[in-house]
């Protein structure tokens, strides 16, 4: 079973890397770029096939380690293989 975790900075947190990327894109001619927010993406492979259990486990992992709740929020997706 595979899970995907998307970690992003909360909207209230300034993202210096994202704004540099946005700036680089506009200087490449993509003048329609308004903003970029950079985040992290995790693919977690789990043993066992219980999707509900997997979601609980991976959410716990995100809370404990993968994301810092002070500055980041996250979203967990379970892939049905």
């Amino acid at each position: 079973m595979k899970a995907r975790v998307y970690v992003t900075l909360k909207p209230s947190v300034f993202d210096p890397q994202g704004s540099v990327v946005a700036h680089a894109l506009t200087s490449l001619g993509y003048s329609d770029v308004k903003d970029v927010r950079q985040g992290k993406f995790f693919e977690v492979e789990l043993e066992g096939g219980d999707a509900v259990n997997a979601k609980t486990r991976v959410t716990e992992m995100a809370d404990k380690l993968l994301a810092n709740p002070v500055i980041e929020s996250y979203r967990v997706e379970i892939l049905s293989s």
């Binding site: 209230s12 947190v13 300034f14 993202d15 210096p16 540099v20 380690l65 810092n68 002070v70 500055i71």
Partner: protein, 234 residues
Amino acid sequence: MKFAVVVFPGSNSDRDAWYAAGHVLGERAERVWHKDTDLAGADAVILPGGFAHGDYLRTGAIARFSPIMAAVTRFAERGGPVLGICNGFQILLEAGLLPGAMVRNTGIKFVSRMVPVRVEQSDTPFTRACSPAQILHLPIAHGEGNYFAAPEVVADLEANQQVVFRYTDQAGNPSEDANPNGSVNHIAGICNRARNVVGLMPHPERACEPALGSADGRVVLESVVKEFADRAHA
């Protein structure tokens, strides 16, 4: 008194802290490996600068789960003085021993230079020997020293006088130009509610002798020695 300097894989300022406490100040100082589970009977603990566990995931995110951190947390909860310097500060934030978090410097660049820092509170174990509003010239060296906390947390820190160090210009005034990393309210260091746990991004341990360009950092370690002596006589 005895200092314990915790060594994580990737720490690089542990020897500087050990040298400052043990040689410059002449106190007992022992380096303690992150896999150890006790603090070797130390009276004060330093979490040093560096890149613990490669700063993988987030700065301090892996280090906070090192076995020694359970002992550091117990020590802090009992009121023991704990100082987190740079990466050590980031570890204290991830461990929840101090509020807030660090994000990338607003200018993206890693900044390594000497900066003036104003001492805001002289009632913590690490600022007790400072005069009020004393300006210290200390080196900074970090890529993620942009202190962030939710507005209500920052308001709380200010109201409870937990901002211990602030970036200022040479005259002691905080300004955007004098803020090297974008930290909210120009915060360079804070303490917990009980005031025994202090974290700061600048490196006092690297500024303890005039040959290093500044000896201003010495007072930070001297403060905790003074506190220990005062307690022993109390």
